[in-house]
Symmetry: D2
Subunit: 307 residues, 4 copies
């Protein structure tokens, strides 16, 4: 149950079987940092190439394909004052004909946000608009994290799949435990892409992007096999599907929830259907990345006792 | 500002230009009833053919194509004790390969729920399952309502489009005002398909289906033109897209919100993007009907003053 | 086996249960005309409102719900010299980001084509472009036809469903027999929207739109029930799915072909799979209309004898 | 312009930056072999793990990111007599409700086909069905080939993207030249997954899978940048999109064709639209793999002179 302090010096823009930066054990905690989506660290210095560069991979001793890695997000906090976002809605989330009239959104013309942990707010600094100094409560989260995928793959941190990746879901915040399917020895965990705040769908292509201090604790579920990422917090279970269209992402998320309810709560397909039919909640993680993300949720208070 | 009490004797399973059952004026209130999705009334007697039979159409004096009809749901309450639902998740919301293993869900083998307005709960009566007498809080809503569509169309109450229809969204509850685009003289409003409760997506193909007492009040917004249904409650604005896949439904809902923010709050595309990007919420109304429903929401407290 | 000459005076822009313009019998032939998609007749005079106005409905004596109507296209020919098309690719068929750079395509700024039945060519007359007088072989077809849908519906001729409608498939040419599911007494057949020529997908939103002389012969298949339109020519069977996304249209078309192979050729699911797996062909009818169209085809020479 | 004979001893089930097996030059020809989709070679011996194991990678001297690699398929021939296929249509290509009734298709219960280069036919040997010894003409093609993707990725040979991959398109046959976007030094070309025959869509999840003799010749187009795979044969240009849903694959393919027509034939968006609108053809490569494949085609005879 060691606590490791780790300062990254290398970052990856794909999640794959790269040399581990640290070996940790079941139950260990890691305190580290992540750079923002364009590779800038807490000082605002560009130290990695753009595209959700990841801290890691962390090798979890004893993890083998077929296991599940539980990662508890103990603390997820922006570690500098300035965040940024894009400014214009993505062409794929509005009616195609309307795209003709979208204003330009040059790649380097970013909105700037002041992120204040004292007041727990993000305030729009520029551009000047009729919104004025729009001030929003923080809700820090990690946009991209995951474990090495199977089959020798290395998957871009622009996208997501069964291994996690760039899910850009605002529910992946402090206090949540995520579950990831181990596909290679050591699991090889990556974390990155902190957002001070993000709406559903990440429809302008970014949250409020910023570097983070991250503390997480891992637990290894030996012999437990899952198909898609799962998560839970104090009040609900969550399952995640990453695919296009949203319909397919929803199919994966729902199927994974059916499996979870069968495995851990002994609910057969009919029982799970009767419950989810009247009580399920869906969140749209992102509708911007190459794979969209849908999250299926059920309140724990509605569930029978875990078996 | 009359209050009309209306007892329906005819029901429609398409929304179109049928003979009005009642003429009402801007500001009037109607108290009426709806039958359940299979045409059973408060006594459980089948009085209409199945498939979301509608009460109406109500002719709103002075409504013309290009106007908007505002309908405030003053009161939406189940008016009998027994509701029903289907029992097994729909094949289109799980991974295709898993459908091979779904249990049968015969059309007439319905789950039965006791709906108690005193305790404000729905309790599963049958089948017998390990869920026991699952007891859930009520959240009454209308699954299907709308106005006659343009072009002489009559559109099945199984589906939804710009005119409303079978949106099966749990947010259409008491206290909400919905806005519908008038396409024919008199608007021709229909209401029906009450659910005592429904999860996101209506993933078993029904909510808890039941007959309703419905009271609503209409207001006519002359010269106000909208493209897709809108709604609001005390805390948020909602826009609705009905289409497949969910991606397209989301495009319509988001585009309609962009239009609303421009028209009533003077936010241009960049301003609306900056706001929605970090603050938008999406709900999935249904992923079961021929057209899926996505709802785009923004909290009113985040908006500038209406113009 | 009468031959009827019918001059239309009324046109419909929805396909529904409207008063028949002519009663015909099983085996009868009809010679009539259709106007172009914007309602212009052979003289170029606008006689109907725009949006694929239909000639009909024709009442087929004895047709009842559950039957199938076979319609043989005996002759489909443009009946004037000037056709028109839109000029710019539809925003929904290119990558969303590229729509920003599409040239304008004003609704009334149409390309003009000279349609010559003698040379069997269509020649681009305007605009002036580097294509010059692009000269293409004719391939006349009907973009929109169908029978009244079930449930009292009247469905816009902009779209398509199980009843046919605006499928915009270039394979619906002279010599083809189409099969449509009868949903109301008399079937109520509509025809319209002739194209002198059209590419796959109707990706600029039109073919070469023109008025037509149409001759067709109907046969009634009593007690034969189909779910989606079917068709055949001398060399292949075709089944049609109309839906979004294309994936779903393909599911319907493929399922209907599986049903056809079972019903008429006694091929079970495995046998049909083994055959279609190596031999099926798909065409994309349209990717422009509210419902997209996919056609599933199998060569007749590969099939066992009809049962 | 050397001819290299290469006997593979290592195979990859992801396409990525692996150690080259051979360095070749612009203009060189390679004669090699590929194993079938489950790793069996010409003797039927399993020499690689299943999942479209690839021969390669071949390092093309001088290839740099931003270039295009042209690969001409000089000869693509099955090199043994026995091919295999799956037996039952994939659940994702039929209506979801119908999946309940699909027969089982155990992973190892494969259909067996006799592949005869003399008669140029594939004959169904087992199972016994009413199809008897179904005999089909050969049409050999490569299901999976590509170059290493950008960003350090290694992408499973189950799927496809901008780099090529598992496109399963029956048009990638002998005599075709394919163009692939170079993303890493040396391009790193992989080839594999030969099919003696395949229908559109690969709807049973396989073609007739078999090991191949492959001869190809490479040419390097320095400084020519493409976004998606392109191809041509004597009569047509082809562009390829790999994505889900089919709608998005079609968007990529169509956009790439618009780019090609602009770059090499000086057709602006309006000119390309006028031409493609009436003349484009689409093929559905696969609707089975994680990314679906749509091919956009235009006949060369319709095009102006290349610039």
């Amino acid at each position: 149950m060691a606590i490791h302090h780790f300062d990254p010096t290398v970052y990856y823009t794909a999640i794959g079987t790269y040399p581990p930066v640290l070996h940790i054990a079941d139950g260990d905690t890691v305190e580290t940092t992540t750079v923002d989506a364009r590779g800038r660290n807490r000082e605002g210095v560009t130290v990695a190439e753009r595209g959700n560069p990841q801290t890691g991979p962390f090798f979890i001793t004893g993890a083998e394909p077929g296991d599940t890695l539980a990662v508890h997000f103990d603390r997820l906090r922006p570690n500098r004052r300035t965040g940024w976002s894009r400014q214009v809605i993505a062409p794929n989330v509005i009616e195609p004909e309307l795209v003709r009239n979208l204003p330009p959104d040059p790649d380097e013309d970013l909105a700037e946000w002041d992120v204040d942990l004292e007041t727990w707010t993000a305030t729009l600094i520029r551009p000047e608009t009729s919104l004025g100094r729009l001030c929003l409560p923080l809700d820090p989260m990690l946009g991209c994290f995951g474990v090495a995928p199977p089959r020798g793959q290395a998957i871009s941190t622009a996208t997501a799949s069964t291994h996690g990746g760039n899910m850009d879901y605002r529910g992946f915040r402090e206090g949540v435990t995520v579950y990831l399917p181990v596909a290679v020895p050591g699991a090889l965990l990556f974390v990155g892409d902190g957002h001070a705040l993000q709406g559903d769908g990440e429809i302008i292509g970014t949250g409020i992007e910023i570097s983070f201090d991250v503390r997480f604790t891992v637990h290894l579920l030996k012999g437990k096999t899952i198909h898609w990422p799962r998560a839970e917090n104090d009040v609900e279970l969550m399952t995640v599907g990453n695919a296009r269209p949203l319909d397919q992402a929803l199919q994966h998320a729902t199927s994974e929830m059916m499996r979870w309810l069968a495995e851990d709560f002994a609910l057969d397909a009919r029982e799970a259907s009767l419950l989810l039919g009247q009580c399920v909640r869906y969140d749209i993680g992102n509708v911007f990345d190459p794979a969209y993300t849908v999250v299926c949720k059920i309140a724990k208070e509605l569930l029978p006792r875990r078996i």
